[in-house]
């Protein structure tokens, strides 16, 4: 029950959620709800793992994972943007598709050992007492990328021109359309970005944080937690990152709870009966629900909310009666 270890592990596993959640934020801010994150993550996880195995390059694996997620998400894009199908069901079908593809194409990958993304420590920074070892030592390169990606994404969304266009498309696509912005184009683009990031998140699992392929257990619901995080984060990438890290730490904390015989001076019930551990395993999911309740109440109070056009197909020149 070492605080340093919990924080360190939290940053690592949180990075997975960070990528997936920020990807979904991009898509949703453009107005497209993509519930296929879990499927795209699993597909990315498998694609990255298998590519690294056959080519020996983890980086190439990462690239392929991102492409896989991106291409799969384009199917969702086509169906929801051009065919205006229901976005919820389309996203679900993507989960089945991604999962199915990953399981079929991933036959026989269990137990293999591909090249992984390197783990490094940053000189100087890692020497800082306490904070150093937690933040800057012995982390996968992807974790460090995550540190920079979150603030960069936030800046992009709120303070740059393309970010403004993104937000306009998600809030009031007709306004964007009449000013010459391609609503369809923007939506396809960010759906693709969301898919790529989901794929990246998956590869982060198998090639960095929890190496190995465990079939459908590889992602075990993290894609869904990421979707919940988006709401909790109120569509703000920095908050999503924070939420992701928090979840990661809570996960580790829960894991560690089962170890010691004495917990804060009292007999540890988990030590006595390891089956109580099942209740702990429930916790990430219970916490997601709590985070959602909290997020929904905060949104109602501040009159914030999702991008106004989220989930609504855009049809040019729809004439009201």
């Amino acid at each position: 029950m070492n605080l340093e270890i919990i924080l360190h592990a939290g940053l690592a596993t949180g990075t997975i959620l960070l990528f997936a959640a920020i990807g979904e934020i991009f898509a949703e801010r453009a107005g497209i709800l993509n519930l296929g994150v879990e499927g795209m993550m699993l597909l990315g996880a498998m694609a990255g793992f298998s590519t690294s195995l056959s080519t020996g390059s983890a980086w190439l694996g990462l690239l392929v994972a991102m492409l896989a997620g991106g291409i799969l998400s384009l199917a969702h894009g086509l169906v929801t943007i051009h065919f205006q199908a229901d976005q919820v069901v389309s996203g679900l079908s993507l989960t089945f598709l991604g999962t199915g593809l990953a399981l079929v194409l991933g036959e026989g990958l269990t137990g293999q050992n591909p090249a992984l993304i390197p783990t490094v420590s940053i000189p100087l920074l890692s020497q800082i007492p306490f904070l150093g070892p937690v933040f800057f030592a012995e982390h996968s390169v992807l974790v460090y990328i995550g540190y920079i990606f979150a603030p960069l994404s936030t800046y992009y969304v709120y303070k740059t021109r393309p970010g403004m266009h993104l937000r306009a498309v998600g809030e009031k696509p007709s306004a964007a359309d009449t000013l010459g912005i391609s609503v369809y184009g923007v939506r396809y683009f960010y759906t693709f970005v969301g898919g790529m990031l989901a794929g990246l998140a998956g590869a982060t699992i198998t090639l960095a944080v929890s190496p190995g392929w465990y079939s459908s257990q590889t992602t075990s619901g993290q894609g869904w937690i990421a979707v919940g995080l988006v709401i909790f984060a109120q569509w703000n990438p920095l908050r999503a990152a924070f939420g992701g890290y928090l979840f990661g730490m809570l996960r580790r904390f829960i894991l560690d709870l089962q170890g010691p015989a004495l917990l804060f001076g009292f007999a540890n019930p988990l030590y006595v009966n390891s089956n109580y551990g099942f209740f702990l395993q429930m916790m990430p999911f219970v916490l997601t629900i709590i985070a959602l309740i909290w997020g929904s109440r905060a949104a109602t109070k501040k009159r914030l909310g999702s991008p106004a056009a989220l989930g609504v197909p855009y049809i040019r020149g729809e004439r009201g009666l």
Binding site: K159, R167, L179, R303
Partner: protein, 508 residues
């Protein structure tokens, strides 16, 4: 280029635009001279919006040519039109509510390139405002602005892009009489500075005060092309718009109102932004009378309709025949005999993917013979719907047709039929004829008057002052959630009403 006359600002020739099932523009011609204000007139559905959408680059005509300043152009998107100096000021504002004025104006442009450092642009926009007399705070978020201010932002948007040809779509729909005068002045300022304006409207009298020439569309065909305002009468214009001699023939019968049915006392309520929309408001409506509610959009009309029908919380009391319906669920108001013809036909008043039958039974599906204890007898329901279809002259293939396939007028008839069938004591009708063509407007107005004759109390909220004057017995003017004054429709003075609408006079 010296001997021939300068080219017209815009020349549209033989424009044909088709939609599935509808020929929206049938070989229409329109010419806009440099520096003029040209009115495009026609009732709703005549094709004027479609024509202008083609000019602004939203649609591509199937046939015909468009010339701008003598140059033939072909627009593939609004961006192309903007590049040629054409700017559209939409009736339904194309503004992003969560972003600021400056951000909305800069949307879609190429600068600032990447990083949004806006203070420089705030100043540029302030300068532009001074040039044309359009004051609004560039750093305010759109949702914080009044409707009139939002319209100014729409105009600034096109001016900022260097538009010298402006298309203004029903700009006066949301303005009070005095604000309309201000707008007309702004339009003259713009033409003096070299702009040319096309002004879309369906309001005859406005058009005659400000336009130089006009074009009239009826059912996709131009019945008058670029005729001068000189010597035109309202009747002649109406005939051009509708195609027959229009007798403004809706007659209201003289009758004495009965007891008070609706008694609103000291009601206050907030709007969706948390701002006070109704401010200690009181009024009453009697049996067999129509109380018209006049006012510029956004002064509490929607909220008034909603608190009476149970769709919004409030303080104070609202008595319907003695029953207090304030601050309770819609079911209570309905049970107390309140019928509601809502502002939003498709979004609130009907279920778009359900049939006419299913839409007509929304309020009475539990009553015999349609409903029994647990179930619904759809054969009876369909018969009932067929009777209503006949009685109200609703045009549709049959009663199984989905509501969203109906035209505005027919959908409104379905809604009215349904509400009238409940034999209400009070009917709240909000913007009942908005967006309808003249024939449908007449039908709806007749239906309302017929209801009045049966003794129903009617609260009529409308943005068309003419309509209120024609139909109402008394008119109450709303300003910032308060009743500024109540006048008898018979001897109403439009100027007085106008002053009350802008808060400058009160005889409450």
């Amino acid at each position: 280029m010296t001997s021939s006359p300068p080219p017209h600002a815009v020349e549209m020739k033989d424009i044909v635009i088709r939609f599935p099932g509808v020929l929206a523009n049938d070989h229409v011609n329109l010419t806009l001279k440099h520096g003029e204000i040209h009115a495009l007139l026609g009732e709703n559905g005549a094709g004027k919006n479609t024509l202008m959408n083609a000019l602004s680059g939203l649609y591509k005509p199937v046939a015909g040519t468009i010339k701008v300043h003598g140059e033939t152009v072909s627009f593939n998107s609004p961006k192309d039109a903007i590049a040629k100096g054409i700017g559209m000021v939409h009736q339904h504002f194309m503004l992003v509510p969560t972003q600021t004025v400056t951000e909305n104006i800069l949307l879609g442009l190429n600068e600032p390139k990447f990083f949004m450092n806006l203070t420089k642009y705030d100043q540029k926009i302030r300068d532009l405002q001074d040039q044309f007399g359009l004051r609004v705070d560039p750093t305010a978020n759109i949702w914080q602005l009044s409707v009139g201010e939002q319209q100014r932002v729409e105009i600034l948007k096109v001016l900022y892009r260097g538009a010298d040809i402006l298309i203004m779509d029903e700009p006066t729909a949301v303005l009070a009489p005095q604000e309309i005068d201000d707008l007309m002045n702004t339009m003259h300022t713009m033409t003096e500075q070299g702009k040319s304006i096309i002004f879309i409207s369906h309001k005859l009298h406005e058009v005659t005060t400000v336009a130089d020439r006009l074009t009239v569309l009826r059912r996709g065909i131009a019945t008058a092309e670029g005729i001068s305002i000189e010597g035109l009468t309202g009747e002649k214009l109406a005939e051009l718009m509708v195609g027959r001699k229009v007798i403004f023939s809706v007659q209201k019968k003289e009758q004495e109102p009965g007891d008070v049915v609706l008694d609103v006392r000291g009601v206050s309520a907030e709007n969706n932004k948390g701002v006070k929309a109704l401010n200690n408001l009181s009024l009453n409506v009697r049996e067999g009378e129509i109380l018209g509610i006049a006012g510029v959009a956004g002064n509490g009309q929607s909220e008034l309709a909603e608190v009476i029908t149970g769709l919004r919380a409030c303080e104070g009391s609202i008595l319907v025949n003695g029953e207090d319906v304030a601050n309770q669920e819609p079911a209570k108001a309905i049970a107390s005999g309140v019928a509601h013809v809502p502002e939003d036909r498709t979004g609130v008043g009907s279920a778009p993917n359900m049939s006419i039958t299913e839409n007509t039974i929304m309020k009475n599906y539990r009553e015999a013979p349609i409903g029994s204890r647990w179930s619904i007898n759809f054969t009876e329901a369909r018969n009932h719907a067929r009777e209503l279809k006949e009685a109200y002259d609703i045009l549709a293939p049959n009663v199984r047709t989905m509501a969203r396939k109906l035209s505005g007028g027919n959908l409104q008839k379905v809604i009215l039929a349904r509400e009238i069938t409940t034999q209400p004591k009070l009917m709240v009708a909000m913007q009942p004829t908005r967006g309808l063509d003249v024939g449908a407007i007449e039908s709806i107005q007749r239906l309302l008057l017929a209801q009045r004759e049966t003794g129903t109390a009617i609260l009529l909220i409308s943005e068309e002052l003419d309509e209120l004057l024609t139909l109402s017995d008394r008119i109450a003017v709303l300003y910032e959630g308060k009743v500024m004054g109540i006048v008898d429709a018979k001897d109403a003075d439009i100027n007085e009403i106008g002053l009350m609408m802008t808060g400058q006079r009160s005889n409450a």
